[in-house]
Structures are given as structure tokens and as C-alpha cells.
Subunit: 189 residues, 2 copies
């Protein structure tokens, strides 16, 4: 950030009065430009013993498989955002959605909120995807998953299926998962 | 938003290529200024049959009671933010924290993520609070709560205590709660 989005003057980085963190502050109009984490919302569509994944048509991780997800938009709820992304990326509708997984990714200032739901009807290929496909556990392309969170949520999901319990977890992505399944982090997610 | 924070030129509102929403876009450098919901993180500190609330020393809702919470900062996890806010507002530490409640407040582009935890030791009064106090259910100042989400989380918590089950809920704030307890929404939270 270089300029004030309110008045167009130069901003400086300083700790505002009454605060304890460095912020971008406008020297002309005193506007404080807070910067906060962004929320990514997504959904794991399930059909029988399979899950629906999309192969990314966009960077980063073009060509790798992911769970439908994207940045939450102003004016929508987390679930609305998750369903929108599922429609946009996999042309899919889900039903019986329930909260499933939260991730913290503090080094890139992101929070992920995933629901899971039953795939309801057909699916297709959205403009940000190269293809969509249902995978059973033994078909998952573990070495071609786009991000550590995708590895995590899939490993957890297929474990949870065995018990029928789907606890809502909140952690950072687990690099140990990635290592276990031979995932190599080529770039930050 | 009036000016580009990157180059200082005027921004215009338009739908960028490949998008379907209006964004602030810089006509000079083409930077797209996405605006996304902000996440508020908080914690409900519990001690025996009581909960710890703070009376707000700042606007909005100065003088009204709230659960410790505030905007999540870059570089922290949701739990770290919730514990930081609990320390800042109630000078309190909690242990055995667990995810408890998510709220969508789409009309002000906010998401709330609340944990609950056992109050661990003393508590006090942070700079953003006028006082802090432990309340049992029949002591809660229902008509002096700061926001609908505070009403909701307290009503739910005391109900959940009866069963010992604390399901993780995700909804918008419930106006019916507010009505039931005589809460009058003087301003948007």
C-alpha cells in the first residue's frame, strides 16, 4: 500500500494512537487503512463413497486438483459463498450442507471455512476448472492435489467416514500429511 | 474507495474481465481492489456456572456488555486472535479453548468466530472496557447487551449447559432472540 484510497495522498506506516500495531495511515486525512485476513469458503461435495474434485484452470497450481473454494464476497454468508464457489467451479449443487473444516493459514493472512454436503444431481466444469471428477478414496490423485489443505481435508474425510463422526476441526494445514502422501509444496497456497 | 492504493490514480467501479461483480479498478495501473468480509474473533470465558463479560469503553454501544472479541489481525490464527482479544479486553487468560459459534453478518460484511474456554486465573479490565464481571445466567443484563450476537451466544450457552452438548452453530444473528429478551437494536452491530 502506497497511497490513501480515500484522498490519494501518500500513506506512511506507523502505530496509530491507542493502537499497538503498525498500520498504513494517511498523513493528509489521518485515515487508518486496516488490513485483515481474508476468508476462503468452500465445500466438499460427496456422492456415495466418492468426493467431487476440480482440476484448476488457473494459477496458482494450474492443472492440480482441488476442492471447490474461493474468496468469500461481501454481502454473502459463508455457506452462500461456499455454494456459489461449488456452482462456479464444479457446476454442482449440494444439499444437507454442514460445517466441516476450518483452517488458519496465518503466513498468508487467510482463513478457510469448508462445508461438506451431498452432491445433488449433475456436475460439470466451471470456467476456472479444466475438469471435474468424482473420486473414491483409492482413486484420489494424492500427488496432484493443489494445496496442503486439500490433502488434509481429504485424508480427514476418508478417516471420518470410517467412524461416521465428522468433528469440526480448526488447525493450520498439516505438513505431516503432505509428507506422508508425498505432496511436495511447490509454492505457497 | 476513491484512489488506487498502489499508484494513487482515481479508481472506477466496473466488472473486470473474467469476473461477474463490480470492483474498484485502477484505470491507470489496472489493479483490482477486491473488498472482502472481515473476521471478528472472540472467546466466551467460563468459570463454574458463570461467564465473563466486559462493559464497552468504546463506541459503538459504549457502556453495554459484550463478550471479548475484535477484528482478527494479519499473521495470527483465529484462536490466537480470540485469546489476544480476551487478554486485551478482560485481562483474562482461558484454557481448554474449543470452537463454539460462528455468525454471518452479511449486511455489514463480517464473520464472527467464537471459541469458549475455561477462565484460567484472574481477570481485569482492559483499555477498551469500563469493567469486567462474571455473571451467572440469572444475573445477565439482557437489556444491556451490546449486540445481537452477544444475546445469541449467551442464550445458547446457558441452554447448552443444561444438556452438556455444545454444538458448533453457524447462522446469522437471531432477531427472535433479541425480541424475546427485550433487546432493542439501537444501531447496527
Amino acid at each position: 500500500m502506497n497511497f490513501c484510497s480515500e484522498c490519494g495522498s501518500k500513506v506512511v506506516e506507523k502505530i496509530p494512537a491507542g493502537d499497538n500495531r503498525r498500520r498504513f495511515v494517511c498523513d493528509a486525512c489521518d485515515f487508518i487503512h486496516y488490513q485483515n485476513p481474508r476468508t476462503v469458503v468452500g465445500c466438499l461435495p460427496v456422492s456415495g463413497d466418492k468426493v467431487l474434485l476440480c482440476r484448476r484452470a488457473i494459477e496458482p497450481r494450474l492443472g492440480y486438483w482441488t476442492v471447490p473454494a474461493g474468496f468469500m464476497e461481501n454481502g454473502e454468508t459463508m455457506l452462500e459463498g461456499a455454494l456459489r464457489e461449488t456452482q462456479e467451479e464444479a457446476a454442482a449443487t449440494v444439499k444437507d450442507e454442514t460445517l466441516y473444516r476450518l483452517f488458519d493459514i496465518p503466513h498468508i493472512n487467510q482463513v478457510y471455512v469448508f462445508f461438506r454436503g451431498e452432491l445433488d444431481g449433475d456436475y460439470g466444469v466451471g470456467p476456472e476448472s479444466l475438469e471435474s471428477r468424482l473420486f473414491s478414496e483409492d482413486e484420489i490423485p494424492w500427488s496432484e492435489l493443489a494445496f496442503p489443505i486439500v490433502t488434509d481435508i481429504l485424508l480427514e474425510y476418508f478417516e471420518d467416514r470410517k467412524t461416521g463422526e465428522f468433528p469440526i476441526r480448526v488447525t493450520k494445514p498439516g505438513p505431516q500429511w503432505a509428507k506422508d502422501v508425498g505432496y511436495f509444496r511447490k509454492e505457497e497456497n
